[in-house]
């Protein structure tokens, strides 16, 4: 047996993972090898040292302290984080559309956007058509009002999204 193999077996013996044959082979090697005998003795001595110094109890109740600190905060939930990332992206898209003056029709000319948005647009349009018709029938003024309200509402959404993203990123920064 080589000393490398014996060293490996010494660790495995410490883990309680040697079979009888390996035990005997290792003992035979240690009897004839001073270096490995010294290693075996160093392992036994380290064990004896740690047995002689009992573990200490913490001077304070760490569990209670941790509980107290954790009561003040809740962990960042990945789903909540993804929701806000999505909200910020949608807000950013809305802001870009608004700032650049591009209409939704222009965005729909991009094949990737059209592929994703087209089916959704049709469904939403079907849902909203009766509402739109009803609104238009009741008062054309409502339509005008909605146009005027669109920009402030978009700004509100963007501001809220940015605020939440900042809050979440602050939480992540504290964690790291």
């Amino acid at each position: 047996m080589t000393c490398d193999k014996a060293t490996m077996l010494l660790e495995r013996r410490w883990d309680g993972a040697l079979n009888g044959e390996e035990e005997r082979a290792l003992d035979d090697h240690i009897r004839d090898c001073e270096t490995c005998a010294a290693e075996a003795q160093a392992i036994a001595l380290a064990d004896a040292a740690f047995l002689a110094i009992p573990e200490e109890d913490p001077p304070v109740d760490i569990t209670a302290l941790v509980r107290e600190r954790l009561a003040e905060e809740s962990p960042a939930e990945p789903r909540r984080l993804w929701f806000w990332i999505g909200a910020v992206l949608v807000s950013a898209l809305a802001a870009m559309t608004w700032r650049s003056g591009l209409s939704p029709a222009t965005w729909m000319q991009i094949p990737a956007v059209a592929a994703v948005a087209s089916p959704i647009t049709h469904i939403v349009a079907d849902w909203l058509r009766p509402v739109g018709l009803a609104c238009a029938a009741v008062s054309p003024a409502l339509v005008t009002l909605a146009k005027w309200a669109a920009a402030p509402v978009a700004l509100e959404v963007i501001a809220l999204g940015l605020w939440m993203a900042r809050r979440n990123s602050g939480q992540i920064a504290r964690q790291s």
Binding site: L45, A48, A49
Partner: protein, 195 residues
């Protein structure tokens, strides 16, 4: 495993269930994990940073960080190396900021229950001296040797888990462990009786 290795406080299967629940967001499950690990983690931090007060702070911070990042823990993997890694990194940060100036042996015997001592005063003095020498030998190990020594002989951790905990290659763990044991042997040969 040798007699020096401490068994885990909870069975592995129960621990895995607790970890799963903690990852799913159940604070009570994490609370139980803290209770299970607080003594072991505190003792690791204590021997790394060198005094009780700092060890309490570091241990507490390690648990808080573990809780904050529990969602990143990969369920099914061993929990101990992940937790010890957080604590170890905090200990290293602490030592960089505030190098160890307090010897462990002074504190270790303070407040020890007299009934834990041997019957005779001579035996008690002898035991106390032995503990002092052992504590000094451990405290004098360089950080990188001390950490592998504490995880292997203090915690009974497998070499692969030590490598994972400390973020170093397995071979480096073996080399550090060999050197740490050799340093301990030189310091304690004749102090302790080995079968």
């Amino acid at each position: 495993m040798t007699t020096a290795a401490r068994p885990p406080a909870v069975p592995a299967i129960q621990e895995e269930s607790l970890v799963r629940q903690a990852v799913a967001g159940r604070a009570q499950a994490f609370d139980v994990l803290v209770e299970c690990y607080q003594r072991r983690l505190y003792n690791y931090c204590y021997r790394m940073v060198g005094n009780a007060e700092d060890a309490c702070d570091v241990t507490q911070e390690a648990f808080v960080r573990a809780y904050r990042n529990i969602a990143t823990f990969r369920v099914g993997e061993p929990f101990a190396p992940w937790l010890y890694r957080i604590a170890h990194n905090l200990c290293i940060d602490h030592l960089r900021r505030k190098p160890n100036t307090l010897s462990l042996d002074v504190e270790m015997d303070e407040g020890r229950d007299p009934k834990d001592r041997c019957a005779g005063p001579e035996d008690a003095a002898q035991e106390s001296e032995t503990r002092r020498l052992i504590n000094a030998a451990i405290a004098d190990l360089p950080e990188k040797y001390r950490s592998v020594m504490l995880l292997r002989h203090g915690r009974g951790m497998p070499l692969e888990e030590i490598a994972e905990t400390l973020g170093i290659p397995l071979n480096t763990v073996k080399v550090h462990l060999h050197r740490a044991r050799e340093q301990m042997r030189q310091r304690l040969d004749g102090v302790l009786e080995v079968r």
